[in-house]
């Protein structure tokens, strides 16, 4: 079953991936935090500095709360399509054939993105930021495809990407009953969560086996919906031979860089083309592709996003949101802020190793921007009040039914009380925010791996594969300059001291009479964990028996960390069950009228093209190539060594045939989040008019409550894609392939 983008990545880390939004950040943030130490991964969320009193019940009546019909969002599943709503709002007669066509053109791209088929010969469109790793993977010696871009002259020049696959959603089967029945057979919160997960994965295996008998390209994944109130088996057709066809230069694909992430107006050609091949090495025939709209969309047009949003938290209680606001987010922001500042300081010194630090800084500041946006959203009283009004409505509806009251009557109080337990633990857990992830000190993270690895071996843990995997993960960490490790260790010790108190026995044992600064300096000066090679040697020779100065530190710290982690996990399991109860109540009252929270599985979201009020003026629905040049020239003087708005040579003097008034990026009110990157934006005829690549800064709080007042999905206009292929990149055969598909579509 799918907990996240990568197998068992713990929920806490998955949250962070979500945090990244749907944007270029998604890729980077996942990279940053996708290196959990071990299965018992850290509960990153709970950090606390200074107890804060926040009443669980805000005074709703002071706001003019308009309980929105779509506060729960518009990420509709394909097994419960909003047929009536589409008819009511768009006059659209969307029958099952329409939804099937919408579903089959869409793809899940790798483990983090979405994509779509855009021709009958397996041509795939996704974002440049989703393709970065693939581009790097097929770059040959002497090439720099990220910088120069890539265009296969003919299909035979298309380059196969190792390990990349795309998945098409073939069918959906409800398996709720089977999972629940297994879960109901056991007592205890943790046990029940475990049993459900195991059952889901058992069903997954069993169904995959059966499906493969029919067709070896099929693969089944059990998706948890409504916090476990529903389980659905999604059967995917997987295409495992995917080749790079075309990618623009990174300067176009990532125009505006990290700075412009979550920004609109925007001027980014965030696109890349791939092609799926069958097992005999021929381009797959894809009759279920989207035709290309050459006319594009206009303001107020109905548009639909079909893609795989990663995660949202829209269906919980008010007390949960407040905990998120007052503890989790604040302390994540604080932890990232400190790290961003330290990393920037080092980066600016332009010392050796600044590249690694710079990448890390980009990722950290990107996550920071996203988390701050969410925090801002939660600090907006109207948002909390709206959620509160929604919960009150549920309460009211609940008490109209005696049987429901009897079953769910205590759920609100239970959730509130659980938040109090979380608060009680929050202080200690805060010391470990982002501990054991790749944004921390390399030395400490390696030490934690080393500690875990040694203990598994000592305890005679038998799964050699798992042990090897841990070792592999540990070895994959890039080295940091010693100075950076030192400042990160110092920061972590300060955070520990603040959370645990100076007199805490673990803290005293760690410091061993030294000051934080001198301990950190000593560790960095003498440890062999500064680089992977030294670490590997130590792993073989026996990490815990070595004289490395970091051994006593991690030996004191790790038990505390693992205990904290187990407590966090236990609270999390309890919360998951309560939330599932709550979801079950909602479901009993409203059914599928409210779509489930995002689950990195296929959804369709409706909206309209339209600008919005911003920055004291109005953001247009579209931008143009003129704006690309405005930005290039406007930012050019800021930095002699280049800016994120620089253009590559061939764009500096574009051919006259490229109309600069061509719409480049556009915004619409569709409900999207991280994972939607690369999703097609379709018109009512299911022609592709845009390529989703980001959400604006106003959309960040949509993770908690959906609003389309100023929140917008940002896409690349397909007219810009076609114009640049044709006039700038000279990709004639692609243009022909795309437009012929479109013509055939229209003639039908």
């Amino acid at each position: 079953m799918n907990l996240g983008y990568k197998g068992y990545i713990a929920a806490s880390l998955f949250c962070l991936a979500v945090v990244a939004g749907c944007t270029p950040a998604a890729v980077e943030v996942v990279n940053v935090v996708s290196e959990p130490l071990i299965k018992e991964s850290p509960q990153t969320s709970t950090a606390l500095i200074g107890e804060q009193n926040s009443p669980f019940t805000p005074s709703v009546d002071q706001f003019d709360v308009d309980l929105g019909r779509f506060d729960g969002g518009k990420m509709w599943t394909f097994d419960n399509p909003p047929v009536d709503w589409f008819a009511e709002e768009y006059g659209l007669d969307a029958d099952s054939a329409w939804f099937a066509k919408a579903r089959l053109g869409a793809l899940r791209f790798g483990t983090q993105c979405s994509a779509s088929f855009v021709s009958g010969q397996g041509l795939i469109l996704t974002n440049h930021h989703c393709a970065r790793e693939s581009i790097a993977d097929v770059t040959l010696e002497g090439e720099n495809l990220l910088e120069t871009g890539f265009l296969a002259e003919t299909t035979s020049d298309e380059r196969k990407i190792p390990d990349l696959y795309v998945e098409q959603l073939w069918e959906i089967t409800d398996v709720t009953h089977r999972v629940h029945r297994a879960g109901n057979a056991v007592r205890g919160d943790n046990e029940r969560v475990m049993v459900r997960r195991n059952k889901a994965s058992e069903i997954e295996d069993e169904m995959t086996l059966a499906a493969k008998m029919r067709d070896s390209t099929l693969q089944v994944e059990v998706v948890e919906l409504y916090s476990g109130e529903r389980y659905a088996a999604y059967t995917y057709r997987r295409y495992e031979d995917v080749r790079l066809v075309m990618a623009p230069e990174k300067q176009l694909g990532y125009f505006g860089g990290e700075k412009d992430n979550f920004t609109f107006p925007r001027y980014t050609l965030d696109m890349a083309f791939f092609r799926a091949y069958d097992q005999s090495g021929n381009p797959v025939e894809t009759p279920n592709h989207y035709a290309w709209s050459t006319n594009g969309a206009a303001v107020d047009d109905a548009v639909f996003v079909v893609g795989n949003p990663g995660s949202t938290s829209r269906l919980g209680s008010v007390s949960q949101l407040m905990f998120e606001r007052d503890y989790t987010l604040i302390h994540q922001v604080e932890a990232l802020d400190h790290r961003a500042e330290l990393l920037r300081f080092y980066r600016d010194m332009e010392e050796p190793g600044a590249d690694v630090v710079n990448n890390m800084w980009f990722s950290v500041s990107n996550s920071l921007k996203a988390l701050e946006g969410q925090l801002d959203g939660l600090r907006n009283d109207t948002l909390i009040a709206r959620r509160s009004a929604a919960v009150n409505q549920i309460r009211e509806d609940l008490f109209k039914s005696d049987s429901l009251s009897a079953r769910y009557g205590t759920i609100f109080q239970d959730l509130d009380e659980l938040q109090l337990s979380k608060r009680a633990e929050a202080n200690r857990l805060s010391a470990f925010t982002f501990f054991g992830t790749s944004i921390g000190s390399r030395i400490l993270t390696r030490a934690l791996y080393g500690y875990y690895y040694a203990n598994l071996q000592r305890r005679g843990y038998v799964d050699q594969d798992a042990i090897d995997e841990i070792r592999e993960d540990a070895m994959a960490l890039e080295d940091f300059p010693a100075e950076v490790d030192q400042i990160l260790i110092t920061l972590r010790f300060h955070e520990l001291q603040e959370a645990l108190g100076e007199q805490d026995p673990t803290m005293r044992s760690i410091l061993g009479g030294l000051t934080i600064d001198s301990l950190a300096a000593r560790i960095v000066a003498t440890t062999v964990l500064r680089d992977s090679a030294g670490f590997a040697t130590l792993l073989d020779e026996g990490f815990l028996n070595s004289n490395d100065p970091v051994v006593p530190v991690i030996s004191a710290l790790a038990p505390l960390y693992f205990t904290a982690q187990r407590q966090a996990e236990s609270l999390k399991n309890r919360e998951d069950l309560l939330v599932a109860e709550f979801a079950s109540l909602r479901f009993a009252l409203y059914g599928t009228n409210v779509p489930p929270d995002a689950s990195f599985s296929l959804r369709i979201s409706d909206g309209r093209v339209g600008g919005y009020v911003y920055n004291g003026t109005y953001a247009p629905a579209f931008t143009t190539f003129y704006g690309l040049y405005d930005h290039y020239y406007a930012y050019r003087n800021m930095n002699t060594t280049g800016t994120p708005w620089d253009l590559p040579e061939r764009w500096l003097d574009p051919p006259n045939s490229l109309p600069l008034s061509t719409p480049l990026n556009m915004v619409s009110t569709n409900d999207i989040t991280g994972g939607n990157s690369g999703s097609p934006l379709l018109n009512r005829d299911l022609e592709i008019v845009g390529l989703i690549f980001d959400g604006n800064i106003e959309s960040l709080s949509n993770v908690y409550i959906f609003s389309d007042q100023t929140a917008r999905a940002v896409s690349v206009d397909t007219r810009a894609i076609l114009a640049s292929l044709q006039h700038v990149y000279g990709a004639e055969y692609l243009v022909t392939e795309i437009t012929e598909s479109a013509e055939r579509h229209r003639s039908h």
Partner: protein, 367 residues
Amino acid sequence: MKNCSILWGLIVFTLFPSVQARQITTAASTSDSLLMSHIWDFQANAGTAEGVGLPDTDWVENALLGTLQLPGCAAALVSANGLAVTSAACLRSLDTWIRPGDTLFVADELSQEHRLEGLKVRQLSGIKKIENPGDTFPNVEPDMQSQIHKGRGHGSYWKYSWRVYDDVRLVFIPPIELENFGDEDSVYPRYAMDFALFRVYDKNDQLLDTESYFAWNDRPPRYRERLYATVFSKDESFTRVTILDRFDYNGTVSPSFTTMYGILDLHHSHGAMSSWALPAELKSLIAGSDLSTALNFSVAGECAEMGVAIIDIDMEILGISFDNAHTQEGLRCVGMSTAGILSLLRSPLNAKNIVEELAEQSRWQNR
């Protein structure tokens, strides 16, 4: 800022009737304390001459003498022949503004210039340190005025003498669609051509002959460049030191300046029914200019007045103030760049004489 208040202008003109006309401007008489009294760092309202890089007293005096006052606004002299630049809104908001209305006006020949009836401007003619701020001075010449200014934070008082001119002729004003592009107010990034050129004539119908003016420079302001603007306020005058920097906005950072490309971007983005829509002839006017030219920019801190020259350390004018924008960091002064002005005058309008007059004065051009 569309509603340039004309209030204080009137107050100055009425509360300080002309009293005296002795020319007393010398470096010796003004002394270093004039320099000190003029420094106003945008950050701290404080600083030292060295700290903020004001060169010397002569520099300050020149900046004062090159600055004209008109009701509610300032303007900057940009040629030895009385040509001055200000914000277009400063002229259009005048009670006496009738012609040429909202349309484009270009007078590339002196004979085409259009007299702005009822408009009076004044230029500083002298500064003198005085001991007693209560002193009054006899009125000597009818076209002279004087006013007591407080020194900034030094308890000193200065008597400013002004010469008033009432023959002011319009040389250039853009069409209102470009001046108010997008009907945006208090916004940056911005894409407005909010400037106008006029010429001051003396009482003998001759072009104002002045040694004090700002040399024209049509380079874009540089990122992190220190810039200066000299302002006459109600009872004081000061030179503000500011910086061309960027600020956090909308999840990204602002550009240090915008370009003419942006006008066409917004025109096409917003569409034909919007406030950014340009009639065909104006669209081609813009399209005919060098689109990469700097248009608007913003500097740290609020601008005290519109039409104020924004100058570099060499006292070359790089732009004029025309609005304050609301930003996350509070108000920031928005300027129209000289580069943008020239790009419009040059290729699409081909206003040869005006361009030549500006270019002749440009030390930068002659280098």
